[in-house]
Amino acid sequence: MEFGEIVSVLLQGAIVTIEIVAMALPLAVMMAFSFGLIRLYAPAPFKQIAIFYIEFFRGTSALIQLYWIYFVLPFFGITIDAMTAAVMALGLNIGSYGTEVVRGAIQAVPKGQYEASIALNFTASQRLWRIIMPQALVNMIPPFGNLAIELVKATSLVSLITIGDLTFKAKSLADTTLQVGEIFGVVLLFYFVIAQCLVFFIRRLETHLSKGLGRGGIHS
């Protein structure tokens, strides 16, 4: 098979990979914020649920979660297509790591900021959204960036539930053409490029968010 043909087939796979990232990332961020905040501020029963979610998804493998959602849920009458299962499993998995990022970043805001906002008679929600969160967000960006790269890498697992992503295309091309060296080499390069693009955007976002906070945002 021509090298150009290989690359064009792999590009189709790369688009599927990027689609999955684009859907799972918002889910992960949503889970991270909601459960991170519940973990910090909610009353007891909700807090326990959040801890259970976090420990469960961080304590088992992403692949097992994916298989569980894809193979076991149908037995409970919930049949979902492979794509939904993939987005759910990856979003929930990365989201559970994200909760700790949110929690850590909020707790890292200096205590004086809380005290000052109480002294200035801000309400609880103003305190969180106007004072604490803008500062915490900047701290969250680098670890969230790492998680985004973890997500890109984890998408390769969806090839094992028959989704035609980059890894899946590579595996089936390799099985038919036996040109394994070129194929897997190109695939590794594709993933590397996707990850580096993410790193670039995250750096930009970090610079953008740290404007006006009176501190050095970007360390290069």
Binding site: E55, F56, G59, T60, S61, A62, L63, I64, Q65, Y67, W68, F71, V72, F75, F76, G77, I149, V152, K153, A154, T155, S156, L157, S159, L160, T167, A170, K171, A174, V180, G181, F184, G185, V187, L188, Y191, F192, A195, Q196, V199
Partner: protein, 225 residues
């Protein structure tokens, strides 16, 4: 579909099979972490080398390994290495892939651990005319190891949780066995849930173990003799 109900009889039937596969998982993790620690040290020391070319190339190698999926690396090693005349068993390939992947992560831990040693310690070692090897062996590493333990431990747990990916190259570890049992009996609920619980139990136990190791370690360092 009668899969709604948890079947205890089936659970007890499959548990021994899954537990015996757990040995393969643990073996892969153990060998993988030994290899990863070794590779991590090699990468970390190379990044401190005097040659700029060597430092930059090791930086990009580590960056490349860290930002590409383990699964593809496993495939790469498993299918491409035989083209160069190196055929390894699934377990050996898995250990190699895990070690390389997590070695790249660990190199950052080791590097920051070594960088965390005060400059005065290096200067004192130089002033006392210690050789480079003695400086590392007797001065730097004894102080650097304790702060490295939590991060290293976390990566080893992370590696343990990635071992199911080795099923993709036909290694008969826990998840693969569960999948085979599931497809033979058309019941995935019990085997997959059991595997999930076992992973949870092992990783919680390991996290506790690492905490204990860190606590027992002398804060002021120890002699490597």
């Amino acid at each position: 579909m009668n899969g709604f109900q948890w079947d205890w009889a089936f659970t007890w039937e499959v548990l021994p099979m899954i537990l015996s596969a757990a040995k393969v998982t643990l073996l892969a993790t153990l060998l993988g972490s030994i290899f990863a620690i070794f590779m991590g040290l090699v990468f970390a020391l190379l990044r401190r080398s005097n040659s700029r070319v060597l430092r930059t190339s090791v930086y990009w190698i580590v960056e490349f390994i860290r930002s590409t999926p383990l699964l593809v690396q496993i495939f790469f090693l498993y299918y491409v290495m035989p083209e160069f005349g190196i055929s390894l068993s699934p377990l050996a390939t898995g250990v190699f892939a895990l070690g390389l992947h997590y070695g790249a992560y660990l190199s950052e831990v080791f590097r920051s651990g070594i960088d965390g040693i005060e400059k005065g310690q290096w200067e004192a070692a130089r002033a006392l005319n210690l050789s480079l090897i003695d400086t590392y062996k007797d001065i730097v590493l004894p102080q650097a190891i304790r702060p490295m333990i939590p991060a290293t431990g976390n990566y080893i747990i992370a590696m343990f949780k990635e071992t199911p990916q080795l099923s993709a190259i036909t290694l008969l570890e826990m998840l693969q066995i569960a999948k085979i049992i599931g497809s033979e009996n058309f019941r995935y609920l019990e085997p997959f849930t059991l595997v999930g619980i076992l992973y949870l139990v092992f990783s919680v136990a390991a996290a506790y173990g690492i905490h204990q190791v860190e606590r027992r370690f002398p804060k002021e360092g120890f002699s490597l003799k």
